[in-house]
């Protein structure tokens, strides 16, 4: 236990130092997640709030929350893993008594920590620009929302990790991420609140893990009404499905990696 704590501390602090070296880029990345705010502008321009049974203030809060959720659920493990596998860095990792999963997870968490100041700055700017007049959600839902955001991150990380296993079979598996991004973009609630969807599309989205990744934590964070237990159960169910799948694929992938002599 002590060893685990020490390992986590060292891993996180080294990764944090590493990420700070890339802070200029991470700031740019933070800027790249502005999509929810662009969508907010479009939806308010379209005067949609009334019809979505959301007040303009709630719409503002929703998209601002979606922005924050998006910032802290960014996952890029597939790209790093592909690179590591191709450059032969994976082999030494495999020889160490630590599953590479944890290494990548630590890197992501460290990157999120690096993002914090940039995200706060952007939220502040948007706040001052007027979205903030819509009020601030109570601290309890704020705290709960941030916690669930971390769960959403874990879910996304797990999902991408499963896709990442394709790297064992192909040299360009990272391209798959582009495919995964499409349903994430359109079904998660990032570009439109799920209320705006026609019922059929909404049911379709509900059958995927994507709304758990943005819509659910964003509604919690913005103080909207949610089925908390139902949402958490959905997340748990998806994780329960993905984790064994990941472990299975990881084992099969390693067998192949070893057979290829890479």
């Amino acid at each position: 236990m002590k060893r685990t704590l020490r390992l986590a501390r060292v891993l996180l602090s080294v990764q944090y130092a590493y990420m700070l070296e890339y802070r200029a880029e991470i700031a740019l990345w933070a800027l790249s997640g502005l999509l929810p705010l662009i969508m907010l502008a479009l939806w308010s321009g379209a005067g949609a709030a009334g019809e979505l049974s959301l007040s303009p203030a709630a719409l503002n809060r929703y998209f601002l929350a979606a922005f924050v959720v998006r910032q802290f659920t960014v996952v890029w493990v597939i790209h790093v893993f592909e690179e590591d596998a191709l450059q032969g860095r994976l082999s030494p990792y495999l020889l160490q008594p630590l599953h590479p999963f944890w290494r990548y997870l630590a890197a992501h968490i460290a990157e999120q920590a690096t993002r914090v100041p940039f995200v706060l700055a952007i939220v502040l700017v948007v706040w001052l620009l007027g979205a903030g007049t819509s009020g601030w959600p109570p601290p309890s839902s704020l705290l709960l929302g941030l916690l669930v955001t971390q769960l959403a991150f874990l879910l996304r990380f797990l999902l991408q990790s499963v896709i990442t296993m394709a790297c064992f079979w192909s040299e360009r598996a990272a391209a798959l991420d582009r495919l995964l991004l499409i349903p994430y973009l359109f079904l998660s609630g990032l570009v439109a609140p799920l209320e705006a969807f026609p019922p059929g599309l909404r049911r379709l989205a509900g059958a995927t893990p994507f709304p758990s990744m943005v819509s659910f934590p964003a509604r919690l964070l913005s103080g909207g009404e949610v089925d908390l237990l139902g949402g958490l159960a959905t997340m748990a169910a998806w994780m329960g499905l993905l984790l064994p799948l990941y472990l299975l694929l990881w084992r099969a992938g390693l067998r192949r990696y070893a057979a290829m002599g890479a």
């Binding site: 800027l31 502008a41 479009l42 321009g45 379209a46 360009r172 499409i182």
Partner: protein, 262 residues
């Protein structure tokens, strides 16, 4: 000049050969184009389904803008991303040294070295969408209008290229593992919609700072026969300015690189 043309041919035939080593990518890219297009159409339908529309543009006119965006995204996948995305790697691995020692313009080499056939479906889909939607919007463009639109699209492509190149060139200062250029791509999704759909502040931003307006809205206006001289001139000016900027910045970056690399 003849040498540059011959070089370009050698570049692209070898690039084509390299890409064909990964046939599965064709399928992934095709699915990605279709998926993105379907998602964008549904999203657009969400706005129009409620009768509000976007910025005073009719459904078909908005589709023309979406077509322009799809076309430019195709250009991005075909040329910009494969070439300019590599600059970071050239700097990181030091293979930029080889480029600099070639008796050919280094910006040309870095910008035209390769091309990806997988962006072509996007190009095609964009053109089809423009033609169909413009027809249904009641536009019957004269040949001169079509030619002018093509010219404006060329300006869009040049603006996009220059922005991307400038961002990629900064990797000389911030050597890094990830691609800052992907950031640009994600920010430009704002160009899926007519610029007048945004609130005034964003409209200004998208015209002057991030010239999204010139990328899709201006060419769309042109093909719909609504081009105005000031906008056409502004587009030309913006293209010239950003191209000059990219050239100047590259020279400056090289001076820095060659005095600081080890």
């Amino acid at each position: 000049m003849a040498r540059y043309l011959r070089t370009l041919r050698a570049f692209w035939t070898s690039a084509l050969a390299a890409e064909l080593e990964y046939p599965a990518n064709a399928l992934i890219e095709l699915l990605s184009v279709l998926g993105n297009l379907a998602g964008s159409l549904v999203l657009l339908a969400l706005f129009y389904g409620r009768g509000h529309g976007l910025g005073g543009w009719s459904w078909n006119e908005a589709l023309v803008v979406l077509g322009m965006y799809t076309l430019l995204d195709g250009v991005t996948s075909t040329l910009l991303q494969p070439n300019l995305g590599e600059i970071v790697n050239h700097v990181r691995t030091g293979s930029l040294d080889f480029v600099l020692l070639k008796p050919i313009d280094s910006q040309f080499w870095l910008s035209a070295r390769t091309f990806s056939p997988w962006g072509l479906p996007g190009l095609l889909a964009g053109v089809v969408l423009i033609v169909v939607a413009a027809g249904r919007a009641g536009a019957a463009p004269a040949p001169i209008t079509v030619l002018g639109t093509a010219g404006l699209l060329l300006c869009s492509a040049l603006i996009l290229y220059s922005l991307w190149f400038v961002l990629a060139a900064t990797s000389i200062w911030f050597v890094k593992v990830w691609n800052a250029t992907e950031v640009l791509r994600s920010t430009l999704v704002a160009g899926r919609f007519p610029v007048s759909a945004y609130p005034p502040l964003l409209r200004t931003l998208f015209t002057l700072v991030l010239p999204v307006a010139f990328l899709t809205t201006v060419p769309a206006e042109a093909i719909l026969g609504r081009a105005t001289l000031p906008w056409v001139l502004a587009s030309l000016g913006m293209a010239t300015l950003s191209l000059g900027l990219s050239r100047g910045l590259w020279r400056h970056a090289l001076r820095y690189y060659t005095s600081a690399s080890s």
